[in-house]
Symmetry: C2
Subunit: 240 residues, 2 copies
Amino acid sequence: MHSELARDRLCVAVDLLILTVKDGQLNLLLSRRGHSPFSGYWALPGRMMAIDESAESTVNKLLAEMLPVRDPYMEQLYTFTQTERDPRGRVVSVAYLVIVPWGRLKGVLETAANGFQCFWATLEGDGLRLTGDQAAILGSAELAFDHAWMIRTGLKRLRNKIDYTDIAFAFLEDRGEFSLSELETVFEAVLDEKLDSSNFRRFILNRYEKTGRLEQTQQAEKRGRGRPAALYRLKDSTGR
Amino acid sequence: MHSELARDRLCVAVDLLILTVKDGQLNLLLSRRGHSPFSGYWALPGRMMAIDESAESTVNKLLAEMLPVRDPYMEQLYTFTQTERDPRGRVVSVAYLVIVPWGRLKGVLETAANGFQCFWATLEGDGLRLTGDQAAILGSAELAFDHAWMIRTGLKRLRNKIDYTDIAFAFLEDRGEFSLSELETVFEAVLDEKLDSSNFRRFILNRYEKTGRLEQTQQAEKRGRGRPAALYRLKDSTGR
DNA sequence: CCAAAAGTGTTGGTCGTACACCCATGC
DNA sequence: GCATGGGTGTACGACCAACACTTTTGG
């Protein structure tokens, strides 16, 4: 992409934490770097910001090149400004959190879209697990730049915000129907702990149904085994 | 300061929301701009980031020029990247929240330290009130750049964080003793609402005393009229 | 000068809500 | 086996009341 950076100039980049929940686990999109610096390391997808762009438009441009999703949830995470964070020169990076529903991505996951060699890594404790022919467990040492720090920062933010914002709904099919169990799965994947279904149900219904933002669409659609779940839909879901 | 900006270059600046609690009210430090653009408007103190500085060191440099405080609490707030935010050229601004204890600043408030014409503005609802010979009430229209937006963003963040972090203690004299009423005053100033003293006391004592982070130093020091208050001290106060 | 009033700090109670943990029932 | 609902106990905030200790006021 950008082969050389002028050393006397300051650049601004955006880096993306693209997250989804897949098979009950939180996944993060990583790309393998094919050139210096950090060749062979894993990195968050990123891109330099052009002088006539805002960070948001840069993020949108990058997303459009990578993923077949329209308008995913995104929020600015943090800006990283350590002087030595990029050996090529002075690069300030604005990190963004992006959440995409897994349902929209099936099949597209391991394709190297437009030259990006991207793979989903499963978050496991402090590390990241890659499966398939790239199978490996990645620690901070395998990640380029300060991206391990970005990931930690993003996870903290996500785990913190999930229980006082609508951010969890961004993992579900937009505008689609969902059961409370599916929503619970998202919470459990993000928080990395099992929740009490009974309390979870009360929590959600108290929080949303009384304000009219959550409406039940149909009774009992059967998916898989067990008692069919009631389906709900959220109105005005923006993730807040 | 910086007379001209090259139009083909991207610059990064830091802007500061310096907050304190004074006489039971939340106050913000503003400077009056004496040159174009936005001459005569009010603005947050700010400074361009040099190529060999991190944002944090830029903030520290600016603070050192303005205020006689050592190591105040600070946290990165948000990065503003709209392309048209500065008519001089392309400037991305990283805003920081800075909290200083009023006790350390008495007398220094209205001095134009090192050429900065700075004044404390009291936050009142959506606006800012200046007193003294600069007396005025400032709305968004009197603020330069996108600083009104920055202030709204900072207030939201502060009000949100005050009840799940230690940020309130940053308004008190560091390492000093304080009464629970003084702490309650900080909460009330930040949240802009009266709290129930009984519940507030229980909230604080439960939260801190049981973990051993809050210790009572002396019984009953008399300050003003009314029953003398017990004094406390927080160990490891960092604001988290 | 002394007693009452007013102001501030401190402690306690009740009530309703919300969650943790556990158990029961429906499909 | 999974979805749903109900109970009990605990923690906390809203709201209220009382008491402790001080300064101020007024006779």
